[in-house]
């Protein structure tokens, strides 16, 4: 039974055109194609794909790095700008302080100068007044002496005379001190 079946099977294969030489030829064909394609197409291509992927990866990484460093630089610049601004602010503040101080000093100086000027003026005025008073007194003494000579008709010893007047004047408010209130004191004649 079995050999008949087998024979039928082989006959069937033959009818379909399957035969060992053709089959082997196709197998060898395919193997050759596989080997050659592997050598000439797949391997180099896969290697190149890997290489390309690696390069793209590298490129992406480099771009990423560049981006990061750019961001860092930006940050640096920002920080520097900020610092510069702060420094500028500080400088301006200092300058303002200095200016204020100078202004203050100038004020002070001016006030002092003015005061000194006023003081001197006051002193001068005082001196003027003193000398005016002294002149007036002298004039007045001379006038008084003359008047007294005329009235008395006799001439006093001019020295004694003068001394007398001086004494009188010393008692009067015109005596130069000016501290005493002039009220109630009339120059004696």
């Amino acid at each position: 039974m079995e050999p008949v079946f087998l024979a039928g099977f082989v006959d069937g294969l033959k009818t379909l055109g399957i035969n060992l030489p053709s089959l082997l030829a196709q197998l060898i064909n395919f193997t050759i194609l596989l080997i050659l394609l592997s050598i000439f197409a797949y391997k180099p291509m896969m290697r190149m794909l890997d290489e390309r992927r690696r390069r793209i990866q590298e490129g992406l990484e480099a771009a990423e790095q560049a981006k990061q460093s750019a961001a860092r630089a930006e940050q640096d610049v920002q920080a520097q700008l900020e610092r510069a601004r702060q420094e500028g602010q500080a400088v301006i503040g200092q300058a303002q302080q200095i200016a204020a101080r100078i202004q203050e000093e100038a004020h002070q100086q001016a006030r002092q100068d003015a005061e000194a000027l006023v003081d001197r003026a006051r002193g001068e005025i005082q001196l003027e007044r003193d000398s005016a008073i002294a002149d007036l007194r002298r004039e007045f003494a001379g006038l008084t002496i003359e008047a007294a000579e005329k009235v008395i008709g006799q001439s006093l010893d001019p020295k004694a005379h003068r001394r007398l007047i001086e004494e009188a004047l010393a008692e009067s408010t015109l005596g130069g001190d000016g501290d005493q209130p002039p009220s109630g004191s009339e120059p004696r004649s």
Binding site: T15, L16, G17, I18, N19, P21, S22, L23, A25, Q26, L27, N29, F30, T31, I32, L33, L34, L36, L37, S38, F40, A41, Y42, P44, M45, M46, R47, M48, L49, E51, R52, R55
Partner: protein
């Protein structure tokens, strides 16, 4: 304007169809499952499919060689095209099988794909099936003879309105011998054509060879990944049965029988796979060839074109199916049984347990 042009095109096509129908009708095609033998050396018959197959291989190698003399990082021209195709297929394989398996499987799967694809598409060239060696017989085509220098040539003359078909002497015609004699007396040639080129996959040997290669690769991947015995256990799974018998546990024996039967089914399916691979490809391509031959015989012009388009599609699909099935079977072979790494995980658990017990021991 557009309507007129469309109408002109339609009229032209109809005229073409009619002219073809009148003048280009050939003789009744002779369809044969076996590839025709062209030459015989010693005991080996060189068939036309063998020759075509060599031609296909040579062309593919030539093309690749031309493109790949220098694989450059920035591709150009033919290299660019080939590379785009191969890369697309590579990406497909990797996306199906994963990075590691994909890389391993790729050369075989791609070679199957491109060989089948190239062979299928190549066989659509009109030089296929119509040019060949004449073989004088009592039946077959009636052809006229001409002398082309040293080579005697015969050809099928154009059909005409009076003779709407190429002359054929039917094999089953009882008067075949007589008719052939008459034609020979007229100086004509009577016989079959053995075409030089015939679609590679219309010869059962080629799909069978591809299926065998595919099976070899699948088994090879399985064995090299899982080891010979682990892979063999998939088919001869008697461990559970023996264990059940030893323990005298009916349920385990039953389980073991089921496992063994499943293994047997796997083995059978492995064989059946071979046959289904073979006949799927052969059937599709042979049918395609017959359809094109018949339509060329019936309506020589224009209306055959849709079938060429169909055959382009079928050729691609069959190539893809063959390759993809190989890939999938490879993945099944590689990832069979317990998920890979289960044993390792078990070993890991075992190791941690021992270290724990050691720790406990050292503490004591």
């Amino acid at each position: 304007m557009k309507g007129i042009r469309l109408r002109l095109v339609i009229v032209g096509l109809i005229i073409l169809i009619l002219a073809g129908f009148v003048f280009l009708r050939g003789p009744t095609p002779h369809i044969q499952i076996k590839p025709e033998t062209l030459y015989s050396f010693w005991k080996i018959n060189i068939t036309n499919t063998m020759i075509t197959s060599w031609l296909v291989v040579a062309l593919m190698i030539g093309l690749v060689f031309l493109a790949s003399r220098r694989w450059e990082l920035v591709p150009r021209g033919v290299q660019n095209l080939l590379e785009a195709i191969i890369e697309a297929f590579y990406n497909l394989v990797v996306s199906i099988a994963g990075e590691n398996n994909g890389r391993r499987f790729f050369p075989a799967v791609a070679t199957i794909f491109f060989f089948v694809l190239f062979a299928n598409w190549f066989s659509l060239f009109p030089i296929f099936n119509v040019i060949g060696l004449g073989q004088e017989e009592e039946h077959g085509f009636v052809m006229e003879k001409v002398d082309l220098g040293p080579l005697p040539a015969t050809y099928v003359s154009l059909s005409s309105p009076s003779q709407l078909q190429g002359q054929t002497i039917d094999k089953d015609d009882p008067e075949a011998a007589q008719k052939a004699e008459e034609e020979r007396d007229k100086g004509n040639f009577v016989g079959e054509i053995r075409p030089f080129l015939r679609g590679v996959n219309t010869d059962l040997n080629t799909p069978l060879a591809l299926a065998i290669m595919s099976a070899i690769f699948v088994e090879f991947w399985g064995i090299s990944t899982l080891g010979f015995f682990a892979y063999g256990r998939k088919f001869f799974n008697l461990g559970g049965l023996l264990r059940g018998i030893r323990r005298l546990s009916p349920s385990q024996v039953f389980q073991g029988v089921v496992d063994a039967f499943v293994g047997f089914l796997e083995l059978v399916s492995e064989m059946v796979r071979l046959i289904s691979f073979t006949f799927r490809l052969f059937g599709n391509m042979f049918a395609g060839e017959v359809v094109i031959l018949m339509f060329t015989f019936l309506i020589p012009l224009v209306l055959t074109l849709p079938f060429y388009g169909l055959e382009l599609f079928v050729g691609l699909i069959q190539a893809f199916i063959f390759a993809a099935l190989t890939l999938v079977f490879g993945m099944i072979a590689v990832a069979h049984g317990e998920p890979p790494g289960a044993e390792e995980a078990e070993a890991e658990v075992h190791k941690t347990q021992t270290t724990e017990s050691q720790l406990v021991g050292s503490e004591q």
